[in-house]
């Protein structure tokens, strides 16, 4: 099957002040069609004020199998958290 149109990932900013968030994907022949389709598929009820799209093949993702070694080290670095530091009760505004 080769007449599949390329796949695009769609990101939408729901309102100014918030970041773009991934909402899903769709097929389109080029960015112009992808933009029109994203508007029709993902913003029919004013869900957004801005759309980003990127062809799915351009996304590099971390490998979930390495999840532990990649994200785990945070557990033994408690000194990165404010509660690690002992300070007297009477100290205020810190």
């Amino acid at each position: 099957m080769e007449n599949n149109w390329p796949l695009w990932e769609i990101f939408i900013r729901s309102k100014n002040g918030l970041s773009h968030k991934h909402v899903g994907s769709l097929h389109a022949s080029d960015e112009e069609m992808a933009m029109q389709n994203a508007r029709d598929v993902y913003t029919r009820r004013s869900e957004g004020v801005s759309i980003w799209l990127v062809e799915s093949k351009h996304i590099t993702a971390s490998n979930p199998d390495n999840g532990d070694s990649m994200f785990d080290p945070a557990n033994d670095k408690v000194y990165r958290h404010p509660t690690f530091y002992d300070l007297p009760e009477e100290l205020k505004h810190i």
Partner: protein, 315 residues
């Protein structure tokens, strides 16, 4: 090794962790999801046909814009769901091919005809109503992309059911003829809607597995019971009778009892012998075949534009 992975997988499910596309999953989990999500997507797409039938003949402009918006939503639902299925490694054209060749199933409800305007109301009330009952628990499905798609779908569905009920409500307040039209639409759509929840739990071999994997949260029969209980009360508002002489309140169970379902009819429609199976597939195939040149032209246009902009960069 395999065993170990499967145990880890199940314990993630038991902890209510979501499974994402690149995570390890048993082949059977993947296959079950591809089948369920794609059948669901096909149902949304084929579901546009019986309703599309009435867009040009809607009785007022208000009804027409409402119905158009609903049918457009169903197209969107199909797209969200196809995308979710594709995250499992199957491509879109393969899914279409399965639908068009008749290999894939879709909800048997869409193989019934919409003979009067009242059918559009009955579909919104009963068919979308049954779909919502099925879909709300799917928002908590263990597979992330499916669950997220269902959240979007469910947000949009409540408008569908309300517009349907309002169509029926207007008819219930109309002339004698309109009231008869309303009752006969309910007579036609009631049993097929009750069947939408699928075979009884004893005849549903995959149910237990889907429950264990938290793809499914409630049994077919439990959801069906909930549907009957809710609809019986709603029917009173419309002044219609549900075409089942055996419906009555069971104090002990705290639910309505209801009559036997004609499973023979259900399996016949699934097998392709419903009133509109051939018509629906023919319509999908026609749309796909006649759209071929558009798909090709769009790709050719994209290629040409890319070539042109590459040339400009070189120059």
């Amino acid at each position: 090794m395999e065993k170990n992975l499967e145990e880890i997988f199940q314990s993630r499910i038991d902890r209510e962790e979501k499974i994402e596309p690149k995570d390890w999953m048993p082949d059977d989990y993947r296959k079950t999801l591809i089948r369920q999500i794609s059948q669901h997507a096909h149902s949304e797409i084929v579901g546009m046909l019986p309703e599309g039938n009435w867009i040009t003949r809607a009785p007022t402009l208000k009804r027409k814009v409402g119905l158009m918006a609903k049918v457009q939503d169903e197209a969107g639902h199909g797209l969200y769901l196809y995308s979710a299925a594709e995250t499992l490694g199957v491509d879109r054209d393969t899914l279409f091919e399965q639908l068009h060749s008749g290999k894939a199933k879709y909800s048997s409800i869409f193989n019934y005809p919409t003979v009067t305007w009242a059918d559009i109301g009955a579909i919104g009330w009963l068919v979308d109503g049954a779909a919502i009952m099925n879909q709300v628990p799917l928002c908590r499905c263990s597979y992330g992309p499916y669950a997220r798609a269902m959240v979007r779908v469910c947000k949009e569905e409540s408008f569908h059911q309300r517009q349907g009920f309002e169509i029926l409500l207007s008819l219930s307040q109309g002339s004698e003829e309109q009231k008869r039209m309303l009752q006969s639409a309910v007579d036609r759509w009631w049993w097929p809607s009750v069947m939408m929840f699928g075979p009884s739990d004893d005849d549903s071999p995959n149910s237990a597995k889907s429950m264990k994997w938290k793809i499914k949260r409630f049994s077919n029969d439990d959801l069906r019971q909930k549907f009957v209980d809710v609809c019986y009360e709603q029917a009173k508002v419309l002044n219609v009778t549900l075409p089942d002489p055996d419906i009555k309140w069971n104090e002990e169970r705290g639910h309505y009892d209801f009559g036997l379902i004609d499973w023979e009819e259900f399996w016949q429609v699934i097998k392709g012998n419903g009133p509109c199976n051939k018509e629906r597939l023919a319509a999908r195939n026609k749309a796909w075949d006649e759209g071929a040149w558009v798909r090709e032209a769009a790709m050719a246009h994209a290629a040409k534009r890319k070539e042109r902009s590459n040339k400009k960069k070189v120059a």
